[in-house]
């Protein structure tokens, strides 16, 4: 099952989503601590878009 193209593509998508979610959330710590409003909002949008893709295709 792991070798099936569908499963491989889903795993790649999940791996990408996980990296983005962890990185964006970690950067959010820096953004809220430093009062960087634009970065904070941009990261929130990135997280929301990643969640949408993970829900739709994950």
């Amino acid at each position: 099952m792991n070798g099936a193209p569908g499963a491989r593509s889903r795993q790649r998508l999940q791996a990408g989503a996980l990296v983005i979610l962890l990185t964006a959330s970690a950067l959010e710590i820096w953004a809220v601590g430093g009062g960087l409003g634009t970065l904070r909002d941009g990261l929130l949008v990135t997280i929301a878009l990643t969640m949408i893709i993970a829900a739709a295709r994950g």
Binding site: M1, N2, Q11, A15, A17, L22, I29, R40, A54
Partner: protein
């Protein structure tokens, strides 16, 4: 008021509908739940970007705290499995006794609990169902017995990840609720053993082994959990049960009974247990050798978060986030144990060539789905808490259930685990809600959280995902027992697809018949403890 409560409940209701109604995995439904929580928080509860961002940042620490254990627990399991350790133990156990009831207690109860302690992820049923089938148990019994048998060890199993999730999500320190959790789960341990015996129609003379093994498992788990080393409490309990069961099986065998077929070499059994022995030694050293403890405590990651408030006036004060002591973290200890085990098994000549690559790839693949579910659900509940949605839910629950809430608490935990297939996810989802409801009702938070996680442990084995994994492993049991190969690993990660077999319905019905009274009993125990002034 009702609209506000329903909106607060929407993310959780959406999770339930997507998973149960539409068959979505937790890795897909979790992000959908986060989106629902963020939208409701923003549009109805007045949570602006600053509130959502702080909630997300705090969720990062909570999620990483759990993920480090989940990832490294799976790593250690794969190191041992790659060297044939799990297969060795699975081959050795049935040879101890020809008594079917005793075999069931050893394999479906003690060994399944041990496997839950070290692995989780559906591994206990995937490994033990084929062994039971090979011993002549019917397919439904082969899945139902180990499913019930390991339920009690789920919370402190998977190297304590579910308990760590409860600590993180509720904000209640581990030592505050460890005794209560161990008490409820210890009682469940004995009941689970009795259920296994009932499922396989074991003889009444096995009541003594049942009580002795159960006491050993429950007492060991409680001692380790209360002693502060809860990440080894589950597997410590399972190991104690195996040790007592081993002695009992050998000593109660009648002279007329055959001693079993070919004996598994003791050296292989010792090597199979090396990883877990190392884990115990390292854990105890880190916990109790002060210079080592101090040295490993030098790298601490922590952030301070500013005060935030919603448009409706719900304020979250400025506070330090969860601190991660990286080199002393349970996840780090597991990595040390995994690395040492790998080298020892390689030197002993039992680790296959190019195993490191396979272990790394398989570990990464094995934890992907659950990692997405954990981070999205953690963020979802943190958003709900910061927006004031958890408070609204808790007040509604407290009002509706009143004094009967202790009876309801385990069912909430079970619902979360039934839906997500995971005690960890259930604790992340409902830990804070249960805490707040207990606070509103002015009853012991520790007992309610213990009921939450005990209910979650029982509920997790009922989840359709785990049942189909178990049924799949029983169906494909024509190969040597105890070996996890490609399709089983996919199945253990909840990726099993294809038509559901008839037996899945029978398995769920059978599990429900046993689990419902157990959940009821947990609720009654919680209520009695609270009535008796238990804190």
């Amino acid at each position: 008021m009702l609209t506000s409560w329903l909106l607060a409940a929407l993310p959780i209701l959406l999770l339930v509908v997507l998973i149960l109604g539409f068959g979505w995995s937790a890795a897909r439904a979790g992000p959908a739940g986060w989106l629902a929580a963020a939208l409701v928080a923003w549009l109805s509860y007045g949570a602006r970007a600053d509130v959502l961002a702080v909630a997300q940042a705090k969720a990062f620490f909570l999620a990483v705290d759990v993920l480090l254990i989940v990832w490294s627990a799976y790593l250690l399991y794969r190191v041992v499995d790659e060297a044939g350790g799990v297969a060795t133990l699975a081959a050795a156990l049935p040879r101890l006794t020809p008594d079917r009831g005793m075999q069931a207690l050893l394999i479906a109860w003690a060994f399944a609990s041990f496997l839950q302690g070290v692995g989780g992820f559906g591994v206990p049923v995937v490994v033990t169902a084929p062994i039971l089938l090979g011993l002549g148990f019917d397919p439904v019994t082969a899945v139902v017995a180990p499913s019930l048998g390991h339920a009690w060890s789920v919370t402190f199993g998977s190297l304590g990840s579910s308990y760590q999730a409860l600590i993180g999500a509720s904000g209640v320190p581990g030592p505050v609720m460890s005794a209560q959790s161990a008490a409820l789960l210890g009682a469940a341990c004995l009941v689970c053993g009795a259920m296994v015996l009932h499922v396989v129609r074991g003889r009444l003379r096995l009541l003594l082994p049942l009580v002795l093994m159960g006491m050993a498992m429950a007492a060991t788990q409680a001692a380790l959990a209360v002693g502060g080393v809860w990440h080894i409490a589950g597997f410590g309990g399972g190991l104690a049960g195996l040790a007592v069961g081993f002695v009992l099986a050998r000593s109660t065998r009648r002279p007329s009974e055959p001693p079993g077929a070919a004996i598994v070499p003791l050296r292989l059994v010792a090597l199979a247990l090396t990883g877990y022995a190392l884990l115990v030694v390292i854990t105890l050293a880190v916990q109790f050798v002060e210079p080592l403890r101090a040295a490993l405590g030098s790298v601490v990651v922590q952030a301070h978060f500013p005060v935030v408030a919603t448009g409706l006036g719900v304020q979250t004060p400025a506070e330090p986030g969860k601190s991660l002591v990286l080199l002393r973290h349970a996840g780090a200890i597991l990595v040390y144990a995994s690395a040492l085990t790998y080298f020892i098994l390689r030197r002993a000549g039992v680790m296959p060539r190019r195993a490191a690559g396979r272990i790394a790839v398989d570990t990464a693949r094995g934890v992907l789905g659950s990692s997405i579910a954990i981070i999205s659900m953690t963020a979802m509940v943190t958003v709900m808490a910061h927006a004031g949605m958890t408070d609204v839910l808790a007040r509604g629950l407290a009002q509706a259930s009143g004094a009967a809430f202790p009876l309801v608490a385990p069912w909430i935990g079970a619902l979360g685990a039934f839906v997500s297939g995971s005690n960890t996810s259930s604790n992340l989802l409902f830990g804070m809600l249960q805490r707040r409801t207990a606070e509103v009702l002015a009853i012991s938070v520790a007992w309610i959280l213990a009921a939450q996680t005990a209910g979650g442990a029982i509920g997790s084995v009922l989840s359709p995902t785990k049942v189909s994994v178990g049924a799949l492993s029983a169906r494909g049991a024509s190969r040597p027992p105890g070996t996890l190969r490609g399709s089983d690993r996919a199945a253990s990660r909840g990726e099993a697809e294809g038509p559901a077999a008839d037996e899945e319905g029978r398995i769920i019905r059978s599990l429900l018949r046993y689990a419902a009274p157990l959940l009821l009993g947990l609720g009654v125990m919680t209520a009695l403890a609270l009535a008796g002034g238990g804190g």
